[in-house]
């Protein structure tokens, strides 16, 4: 009764193919975007921008990239953080070595560099699948990290291998306040999420899902597996590369290769597993769960009096792990599936079926 679709007739093909066919969904999405773009920037403190919203958005973007590769195309990848590192260092080098390089162009070029690296490390996917492919992408992770530390050229011969991001200037406006950085990040993530959603709904997305579900059958019906898999790697690495560039420029300000270790790759993989593989919403839900929940636990732990500090820190990790087990036991397909089931029920409520 709440989610009534009665009376919502589609009179054009365009309306039928809309991303949000139900009117209530469109209103909700418009409300979320309005709140995110217009209300949040003026109502929360710098702490929320710097420590919560910006890392959440950037990691959601990286999770989106991995979801394209692992969720839609079924190619398990553990090299996500490596591609993020490529993006970060590429953006730094483009801004440093090309005079007058615009910021957004540098980000796009960084994404393309990461895409090229992604294609190179995605070539094994044509021969191997599943866990074996995961190991090959693991090689990408370690190799990229090693190359960035070993060859000083990438960090402009800084003695510790750390790069300091140049100030972000677009058309003369410098993005220096946390609010401006948040809005820039939000804009980039929103545009790329929309692109990802559309890619997933298009023929490209259907080709990817065919490859995921049964690649031999896909080949039989004439899908070019080579192009499909390499395109998935390219697009996924592009997203991760832009996320890495944003991590360096909009969030930390200076980044070393060890910000993009295997731990980060696993973290992003866990995000999509908990959020829901193969969905755009899942990337955001998973990122929120993994980025924000530990902070919530940490803040909450402060209000428990008398417990020693290290016990509290370890308890935080225990509770977090327990919540992961709980959610995966309740719904193995992730939080996005929980939301989907909820929406299905709401469409029929108050009727059970």
């Amino acid at each position: 009764m709440i989610y009534r679709e009665a009376g919502q007739f589609k009179t054009t093909y365009a309306k039928d193919q809309a991303i949000f066919p139900i009117r209530q969904d469109r209103y909700a999405m418009a409300a979320i975007l309005t709140i995110a773009f217009f209300i949040v920037p003026f109502s929360v403190s710098d702490y929320w921008f710097n420590a919560i919203l910006i890392p959440f958005l950037i990691l959601a973007l990286a999770a989106l990239g991995l979801n394209i590769l692992t969720g839609y195309t079924g190619q398990l990848s553990l090299g996500t953080a490596g591609f993020m590192a490529v993006g970060a260092f590429a953006a730094f080098n483009f801004m440093l070595r090309v005079p007058g390089m615009p910021l957004l162009v540098a980000f796009i070029l960084a994404g393309l560099t990461a895409a090229l690296v992604g294609i190179a490390f995605g070539l094994p996917s044509l021969r191997i699948k599943g866990f074996y492919l995961a190991v090959a992408t693991l090689a990408a992770q370690f190799f990229i990290e090693w190359v960035l530390i070993k060859f000083g050229w990438f960090s402009n011969y800084n003695s510790s291998g750390v790069i300091t991001a140049q100030p972000m200037i677009i058309l003369g406006y410098e993005f220096i306040t946390p609010r401006s950085k948040y809005l820039l990040t939000l804009a980039i993530v929103a545009v790329m999420a929309l692109a990802a959603k559309n890619m997933a709904r298009s023929e490209t997305g259907r080709v990817w899902m065919a490859v995921r579900d049964m690649d031999i059958a896909a080949e039989v019906i004439g899908i070019n597996i080579l192009k499909a898999k390499l395109l998935a790697f390219a697009v996924s690495s592009f997203y991760c590369g832009v996320a890495g560039a944003l991590w360096a420029y909009a969030y930390l300000g200076s980044v070393e290769p060890s910000a993009f270790t295997l731990d980060r790759s696993f973290q992003i993989l866990f995000m999509i597993i908990i959020g829901g593989v193969g969905t755009v919403l899942g990337s955001f839900l998973g990122a929120a769960f993994i980025v924000l929940l530990p902070i919530l636990l940490n803040v909450g732990a402060h209000y428990i009096p008398g417990v020693p500090r290290d016990l509290l820190s370890n308890l935080e990790l225990i509770v977090f792990g327990g919540l992961i087990i709980f959610f995966l036991a309740v719904e193995p397909h992730g939080l996005a599936r929980l939301w989907q089931i909820g929406k299905e029920k709401l469409r029929l409520w108050p009727f059970p079926h």
Partner: protein, 444 residues
Amino acid sequence: MIRSVSLSVRKTALCAVIGAMVGAAAPAFAQNEQFIPMLSYRVGPYAAGGTGFFGGFIDYLDMVNKRDGGVNGVKLTWEECETEYKNDRGMECYERLKKKGPTGATVVDPLSTGITYAISDRAPTDKIPVVSLGHGRSDAADGRVFEYVFPLITSYWSQSTAKIKFIGQKEGGMDKLKGKKIVNLYHGSAYGKETIPVLDVQAKKYGFTVTHIEVPHPGNEQQSQWLQVGQIKPDWVILRGWGVMNPVALRTAQRVGYPSNKILGVWWSGAEEDVLPAGDAAKGYIAASFHPSGTNFAVIQDILKHVYGGGKKGNVDDPKRIGQQYFNRGVIQGILAVEGIRVAQEKYGKGKPITGEQMKWGLENLNLSEQRLKQIGASGLMSPLKSSCLDHEGGGAIKFMAWDGAKWTNITDWIQSDQSIVRPMVEEAAAKYAKEKHLTPRKC
């Protein structure tokens, strides 16, 4: 309609409510307090160092409160936030705590090179000084570019020059270094790489050959690296490790037959936690430090009396750790913080809390002479230190200690670093940073 609100909006709303609760329920600090945020790490692979250091730091502040009633009546307060030694958690903790207290955060020492690098970009805007006691970044010694970063006592580059001086001493003079072979076994991270340039400069100056061998993080397996060392047959091995890499290095060295008394560790390879797991492979191993272990210093005795006396509990669970390397390092951080506050109060008004900007002035005008150290009760624990606007390092000295199986014993007196090598490198790196960030260095 609440029920048709989507899950992500509900999550956002929940976060907002919790955030409001957190903001509203933040304890109201009394006006006469000085707040110091503790970006501590008590879990993870480096927890041994974190618990020792922050234990010493907090115990010292606690002792000053109990023994002196704070600094000229201004009580010291602190709050811990777990960073797990991760850069993004460190950033979040810094952002969460930087505005607490009547005048905001006074000073921050995250005891992590990565977190220091991340925070030092924000510190000038927030006007909160960052002290990186004995760790990165070395180029921050130039206070004209890095106004709010203080690599106090001594940085990695300075320490490296003192190490070469020590090796020269052992070999019978700096001219005897010509033709000698030294291996730099370093941890594969930003921290590990930091001394490669300064060692290369010294190799060229003194005529020895240095080979840099990397041990990929975390360093559990070093067989191939030590076989390479065995082939090179160097006169000395400089161990620049961290965490588990250290005991593994010492045990592997024993297996390949390299003598432990020719292995020279940096101070992050020179704590009790680093050598005890190696057992007798560590006997004779030499490490650098900018302070000795031990409890027979007046300031440590004061901590034992005022904080732990009468069966009370301090911040450290195991009383054996009091007086060990990490604990004493934390105490020294406490001494520097309190002295900075005291010096700033002399200028800006005694008996009231100071701001971060005033603390920066205080940290730039530290003058811990031998006489002042005696007054504080830290004579012999620290070397004399004098900081300035130009020199954010302070010119501290290094002592070398040997491990005899049960404790560290000093084998040298204070050895000064060679600033004629270090300072030009610092200024060059700082100028490069200023150019990259479009900063104008201030005049000193």
